[in-house]
């Protein structure tokens, strides 16, 4: 039994140490870590987390130490004391000292800590209130099973699964849903906000440095909930303006700038196939609204809501058999022959 006790104590220290270390170390592969905040909102929360981590660890260590001492102080061997019933001393447990000790350690001291934490937490929440005045562009994000539709109403730009923002300003996001409840979460920049049918929720993002930040749907939304990621890309204001200008170009103008035969064949294939029922390419007859807008698909970094790098091979695989990559999504497979597929890819890759 004695060894067992020692093992208990050892284990407590291992866990406690791991808790401390865990809070401080960061895995180098991190893509969406709360512990590596890059935006104002996430940084405010990170400060709160560090305060709570320190307080929490202290509380746990104190309680555990008290417990270990209490247990080891007067422990009995298994084989003795079987005859005695009850405490030797009449009722020390009913005395006033244990009572006040428990009241102090269990409620009075915690009350002070709790009041402090509540106040700090409330201040942080007020500082990052989502309805604050913002000075940057407004972005509408509409979540779908299982991708993100992104509008810039001020600029009449539509894209998908990628949100480009300028640095140095607060960008207001207005979040809606086209079907079920999803949750918008870019851990390095901000806590999450749900997208709920019939309701528009707001959020603001701000970044100091240009960068790419991963996000992911955080509310279970059906079969492919795990495969619904997105990117937030922040640019310097000048770069952002350039990006907007490029996105505002309708597709035919791109074609005019670079008219090759294969791209034109590709466009014909696109327009004569079922693609047009679901996808929009601005400036053409394709005005479907079920799937993502493809006007500038080639400018995006990923395909299928952040799960594939946007390259020719992946694009081909996605077009031919999206159901094996992301089972249950709304896009049906196609049976294009090899040549047509190459033309189609040429066309899509021209849509920068």
């Amino acid at each position: 039994m004695r060894t067992a006790t020692r093992a208990t104590a050892a284990w407590f220290f291992v866990v406690g140490g791991a808790l401390l270390l865990g809070g401080c170390t960061v895995d180098p592969n991190e893509q969406q870590s709360i512990l590596a905040p890059r935006g104002e909102r996430a940084e405010a929360v990170d400060g709160l987390w560090q305060l709570m981590l320190v307080l929490g660890t202290a509380v746990w260590v104190i309680v555990t130490a008290a417990l270990i001492v209490a247990v080891l102080r007067r422990r009995r061997k298994d084989d003795q004391d079987h005859s005695s019933r009850g405490p030797d001393d009449p009722d020390p447990a009913d005395g006033r000292r244990p009572f006040w000790l428990i009241a102090a350690a269990g409620a009075l001291v915690p009350a002070v800590v709790i009041a402090l934490l509540t106040a700090v937490s409330a201040t942080v929440l007020r500082d990052i209130d989502p309805e604050q005045e913002t000075d940057g562009p407004v972005v509408e994000v509409i979540a779908h099973q299982y991708w993100w539709e992104v509008h810039y109403p001020d600029y009449e730009v539509t894209t998908a699964n990628e949100i480009h923002i300028p640095t140095g300003v607060k960008v207001r996001l207005e979040l809606g849903s086209a079907d079920v409840i999803h949750s918008f979460w870019v851990p390095e920049l901000s806590g999450k906000v749900d997208t709920i049918p019939g309701r528009t929720n707001a959020l603001w993002l701000s970044t100091d440095e240009p960068g790419t930040y991963w996000g992911q749907c955080a509310e279970f939304c059906g079969l492919d909930h795990a495969l619904m990621r997105m990117l937030v890309i922040s640019h310097s204001p000048a770069e952002f303006d350039g990006w907007i200008a490029a996105q505002q170009e309708p597709a035919p103008r791109l074609l005019e700038a670079n008219p090759t035969e294969s791209v034109e064949r590709g466009q014909q294939i696109f327009m004569s196939s079922s693609c047009v029922y679901c996808h929009t390419i601005e400036g053409t007859a394709a005005q479907g609204e079920v799937g993502p807008d493809l006007t500038h698909i080639a400018s995006r970094e990923t395909l299928a809501a952040g799960i594939l790098p946007n390259d020719r091979g992946n694009l081909a695989g996605w077009i031919l058999d999206p159901q094996s990559i992301k089972p249950g999504n709304q896009m049906p497979g196609t049976d294009l022959d090899g040549e047509d597929l190459q033309y189609l890819l040429d066309y899509l890759e021209s849509l920068e």
Binding site: M1, Q31, D78
Partner: protein
Amino acid sequence: MTTDTTAIGRARDFEELWTNPRGLRKLFTAVQHKDVGIRYMVTAFVFFLVGGVQALFMRVQLARPDNDFLGPETYNELFTMHGSTMMFLFAVPFLEGLANYLLPLMIGARDLPFPRANAFNYWCYLIGGIILYSSYLFALVPDTGWFAYVPLSRDFTDHAMDFWLTGLTLAEISAVGAAIELAVAILVMRAPGMSLNRMPIFAWTMLAVAFMIIVAFIPLIVASTLLELDRTVGTAFFDDSIGGNPLLWQHLFWIFGHPEVYVMFLPGAAIISHVVPAHSQQKLAAYPLVVIALASTAVMSLGLWVHHMYTVGLPSITMSFFTAASMSITLASGLQVFAWIVTLWLGKPRFTVPMLYALGFIVTFVAGGITGVMVASTAFDQQVHDTYFVVAHFHYVLIGGMLFPIFAGLHHWWGMLTGRRYSERAGVVAFWLIFVGFHTTFFPMHLTGLWGMPRRVFTYPTGLGIDTVNLLSTVGAFVIAAGVVVLTVNLAHSAFRGRPAVDDPWQGDSLEWTTSSPPPSENWPAVPIVASRTPAWDEEDDDPRYDRVRTVFDHGPTAVRATPLTTPIAADPDAAVHLPGPTFWPIVPPVGLGLVAAALLTEWYILAAVGLAMALVGFGGWAWSNESGERRHLHPESAAEFEFERSGPHAIGWWGATFTAATLVVGVSTLAFSALYLQVNAPVWPFEETVGRPLLFGGIALLLILATAASWWGRTSSRGSGQKHRHLLSIAVAGAAGAAALALVVVAWTTSGLDPADDAYQSSAWVLLAAQTVLAVVGLSATGLVLLGRLRHERHSRAAILSEYAALLWGAVAVCWVITWVTTDLLPLAVI
């Protein structure tokens, strides 16, 4: 005849009275608390093992990134079933089973107050579980999570969610029934002398838990019904396009869901409050503070639900109200933790298996409590909500705070449950496997979450840097599994082959250790008299004021099974409870209800008629047998002093009726809250015009008041010759008024031009009127019982108390009607 032979004869009669059938017949007819308790625990443990296997499958899938061991469909089914099973089919029923078994022993009663209702609850639970799991037979396994958020769960593609809704609703009804059962037992069936300040912590806790279940489970039953109506009838409660609101589901679900957490944790803590004193031979320190802690936990748990909704876009101030509540509740846990530590400090702890689990519980639960404080902060929770950080947090609280105590309790009371001893060595091995496995599994999950892994994902990419922590969790899960296997084999083997247990292996302090292990059918041949908080450590009270109760309930009464009834605060004996013997009636209605559910799921509606008929026959037969047999000649030697049929709160029936009335009012209030919530969130309300039939509605109100008044008038039992006529007249008036009210409610329901599929206002009014129809039938059934009681018995007291209960129920129906009327007609005018 000498007194000796009288005493022997009395003892023999008494023993005969309490003898039960054995074997298969026992399985279906025994209704005593120990039998039902064991049934609950065995069934729940089987579900626990199933839920555990589901968790292992999930952990294998998550062992490495981009794994294709399971597809998303299977994975989603697994986490839905894992959560639902552990919450609804394991945790709550197991604790209810344990309470069923232990409570009467701890408070000195010979059984629970309504043993047949208790058996009925068990069968409802079992059939609910079978319905949920039968979804595997049809390959229609629910897959929208144990929280079943709308609109995902609302869209009708197949019957999968209907299995979830009907199965779990049956299980919840059983939980509410069990809660009423336990609450009444604790309030009025404690041993003489066990005043509130001497009540065991487990009894205080189950009283608090019963309160939470009654207030919190009803909203979920209502929510499930509304969702089922949305799915089948097409009502608009959760459809935002016609005035419904998906957030209504979240409110109702979490009004249930958060108290549910404490429904699981508080009994766990209570087990520890019994294990720690017994294994350190020291009274629990600061008992009043522990009582405050659990009472305030129960109250505050009702005010935490919004902290599950911190990300839905509520105003900051709204969320902050609930942050305040979530933070305050910490103090209650702090008090309990330090009460245990001080008890250990003052006592002489012994490292038995239950003690190891208790210590493991404290360190684990404290860690879970600390992360609980963290997620109570809105700002921080918005980051970690729906990530593995939360998964880690609640497994620390639930496995640490509920499963460890259950294992502590199983080892602590094993001798009492089975009369056998388990292997200490295997028990210690199992503990260390489970404890180490647990922390290996769940500690890394904090990091998994902080590094950005959301919950409920069937896979994850390598780029997040969470490969190692996930692998560690998977390894840990298998270590836990190994521990659970050792524990299960150890206990199962000992139950059949173990050495016989001694009666009181730990020199425990609470009352249950004063009887034998396992206890005899009647628990105590002589009902104990309690004089302290630790009755097993102190001499029995020889206070002369308990002389009569001591004499009457020493191997007696011998004519009918009975136990004393005491006052709620001071526990002075003032009446008696008549306890039923074995009967098969309680199994019939649940099977009928199960058939109705099966009919809805298979759309084979003839079966529904059969099921309904079966349920009605079951209830009818139950009522008939209740008013016959020994009850016809209820004149045991004790009846003069300890009456079976006293009026008011001196009979269990009054408490049962009051609690039932309360559940009805809570149910209708939930519907009213739903309608008001939709109203304030909808741009227009009502969409066209209100029901607006004041004459009809006023008439119904008057009729319901008349039925209440008439029943109340019939509650006297004077010996005069006119008494029987008075009863019959009261029954006639109450019955006629009630029937007329029912007819008019049906008229209001069917002729007000309400189309439930049109908009949310019409859906609410339609459902409120439908509910009122059901309530009127409940009232009429109560009046029917009064009639049955009047016709079957010569004595007046039976009809009198039944009439009183009918008055309570009719009163509740009248209150519900007022709520209905206010909701359909007044609120739309008063509130924008």
